[in-house]
């Protein structure tokens, strides 16, 4: 059965990534230059997504905004995943008190309202991109840790692991050379879901006003600013909103495609 998801997901994600990468170097218009004459222009050939209340080209800002959201989401997933794997593997493999303590910490993080934790970190260290990534990264550790923990607990007792142990293979090698590859079929989808949630989390933080600082803009902060001009310049909100949807959709379709082709 021709794997439609892999195809559409693949095309969409390469398209989105290429737009984002070009966004880092070049954008049709400067993303910060303001000019009063061009305020609130509807979408036209020169401005594909129209202009905002300062006369800036929305499409260029969306390109950079997407880049910013993408960067944050990827970094957050990396932090969450790396720390999650370390914690999850230790808990899953060894169990006992380490498992109890680390899992309690994870429970606390999940139970803690995300916006309060994010606010604490940002008010201590200021709201630069790195702090937002740190704040969100911490929030994402428990979900990865739990997934990895159940995987390790499952694989820990399989015979080939016992065999490796008997041969005197060092624990880290067992953990990360033997068991980790087998957790990938579960870890990869968890990472894509993590990516989606990271994009949404960043957007929500910006929506509550504790995210990216102007003049830099992420898709979330643009959506927040655009809400004011919904009736007079709907293209501003729609441009930002649908870019978020496209960003998430392309990568979740890709991961769906990978999953479908894997268990075919």
């Amino acid at each position: 059965m021709k794997n439609r998801y892999l195809l559409t997901g693949g095309i969409l994600s390469t398209l989105v990534t290429s737009v984002i990468v070009t966004g880092y170097f070049w954008t049709p218009y400067s993303t910060t230059a303001m000019n009063a004459r061009e305020k609130m222009q509807p979408p036209s050939l020169s401005h594909w997504f129209g202009t905002d209340n300062f006369g800036r080209d929305v499409f260029s800002r969306v390109m950079q905004g997407a880049g910013c959201s993408f960067l944050i989401a990827v970094l957050v997933v990396l932090i969450g995943c790396f720390a999650g794997v370390v914690i999850g593997s230790l808990c899953g493999y060894f169990g006992g008190t380490a498992d109890l303590i680390l899992m309690r910490i994870c429970d606390t993080i999940t139970a803690f309202p995300a916006i309060l934790l994010a606010l604490v970190i940002i008010s201590i260290a200021g709201s630069s991109v790195s702090n937002i990534v740190l704040a969100l990264g911490i929030l994402f550790i428990p979900s990865f840790a739990r997934v990895v923990r159940t995987q390790y607990a499952g694989i820990r007792d399989l015979n080939y692991i016992k065999a490796a142990r008997l041969e005197g293979v060092s624990v880290p090698r067992i953990l990360y050379a033997h068991i980790l590859p087998n957790t990938l079929p579960v870890l990869v989808p968890a990472m894509t879901i993590g990516f989606n949630n990271a994009v949404l989390a960043e957007a929500s933080m910006s929506f509550l006003g504790i995210g990216i600082q102007p003049p830099m803009a992420s898709l979330g902060s643009m959506l927040k600013d655009s809400q004011n001009y919904l009736t007079s310049a709907p293209w501003y909100a729609l441009g930002a909103g649908f870019s978020i949807v496209l960003l998430i959709l392309s990568f979740s379709l890709l991961s769906e495609g990978i999953q479908v082709s894997r268990n075919e």
């Binding site: 439609r4 998801y5 309690r104 429970d107 606390t108 999940t110 139970a111 803690f112 309202p113 995300a114 916006i115 309060l116 934790l117 606010l119 604490v120 008010s123 201590i124 989606n196 949404l200 957007a203 929500s204 929506f207 509550l208 959506l223 809400q227 919904l230 009736t231 709907p234 909100a237 909103g241 978020i244 949807v245 496209l246 998430i248 959709l249 979740s252 379709l253 769906e256």
Partner: protein, 313 residues
């Protein structure tokens, strides 16, 4: 039974840690509640007087213990910002958020389960691909974006619903419920998509099991097999997922209440953090954390009850 005791114990410990963390968080965040109360041009002596009155000058540990003792006795303290006991504030606002969460959860279950059953049991390739794409798209739409667009479309353009025109339950039951319908829907949509996907996959998987063949060989019609046999098994992972999403919905209300101007504890939490209103934030943080823990706890219990294989462990 032993497991239940162990779980409740860990739940209580975690709640303690969460409340402590929230308390410490406020020592770190800059901003002093007295400025909000006394205003910007208050004289230093007045500020100091108020700080002692509110007990803000005592060491952190002492204040935390005091808060804990009074909290357990049911006295949540008085809000710095509204000069009213936190209990009465929450008494007004908690029901609103709970109603929103319950409605959103009901919509999720009511829409996702039948849809999941239908999609799980029919063998139509086109329907499969269509719903798969639809699921992906709905899951990609951030709830607050859907909220904004819904406000614009249904509110301003179609005038079916007046954004910002929240009607309290006491004033008119239909008015309140119909106002909360759209916010509940924007919270529920992504979860409906996820639940449908999971339920369809689970039913598909169960249909291939041998006990279905056995039931067929007993002359049982497909519909009876689906309801009596397949559903009981297919629902096990879905029930856990629904329980967990009940927790996510409650935290999701924080943003949705801002978009739809609903006077619930979500909005109160955001404004209280802004106003550095410790007692209110503490109370809400503990309530939210308790709700998340309890819901996960119920998910485990449901899991045990529905799946006898788990019980023997």
């Amino acid at each position: 039974m032993r497991q239940i005791i162990k779980k409740t114990a860990s739940l209580i410990i975690t709640l303690f840690i969460v409340s402590l963390l929230a308390f410490l968080a406020f020592q770190i965040i800059p901003g002093d509640p007295t400025t909000k109360i006394l205003g910007t041009s208050a004289s230093p002596e007045k500020v100091a007087a108020l700080r002692t009155q509110l007990g803000l000058d005592r060491p952190v540990w002492e204040r935390y213990i005091d808060w804990l003792v009074s909290f357990l006795k049911g006295d949540f303290g008085t809000s710095y910002n509204y000069m009213r006991p936190v209990r009465s504030l929450l008494a007004d606002k908690l029901p609103v958020t709970v109603l929103l969460t319950v409605m959103s959860f009901a919509i999720t279950a009511a829409a996702a389960i039948p849809l999941g059953i239908v999609l799980g049991s029919i063998r139509n390739a086109l329907a499969d691909h269509l719903t798969m794409i639809l699921d992906q798209i709905i899951m990609a739409v951030p709830p607050f974006f859907f909220g904004i667009i819904a406000c614009y479309l249904f509110g301003i353009v179609l005038k079916w619903f007046l954004p910002g025109g929240y009607v309290p339950l006491s004033a008119s039951i239909p008015g309140c419920l119909s106002y909360l319908l759209l916010p509940a829907l924007s919270l529920a949509l992504p979860r409906i998509a996820m639940t449908v996907r999971m339920l369809r996959g689970s039913i598909r998987h169960e249909l291939t099991q041998n006990y279905v063949l056995t039931a067929q060989s007993r002359g049982m019609p497909l519909r009876a097999i689906l309801i009596r046999h397949v559903m009981r098994n297919a629902m096990i992972p879905v029930v856990t997922f629904l329980a967990v999403s009940a927790a996510e919905i409650m935290t999701g209300t924080i943003i949705i209440e801002q978009v739809f101007t609903i006077p619930g504890i979500g909005r109160l939490l955001v404004s209280s953090i802004g106003n550095r209103d410790f007692p209110v934030v503490q109370a809400i943080v503990v309530i939210l954390a308790a709700w998340i823990m309890i819901v996960n706890f119920i998910a485990d219990l449901l899991n045990h009850w529905m799946d006898p294989r788990m019980r023997s462990e």
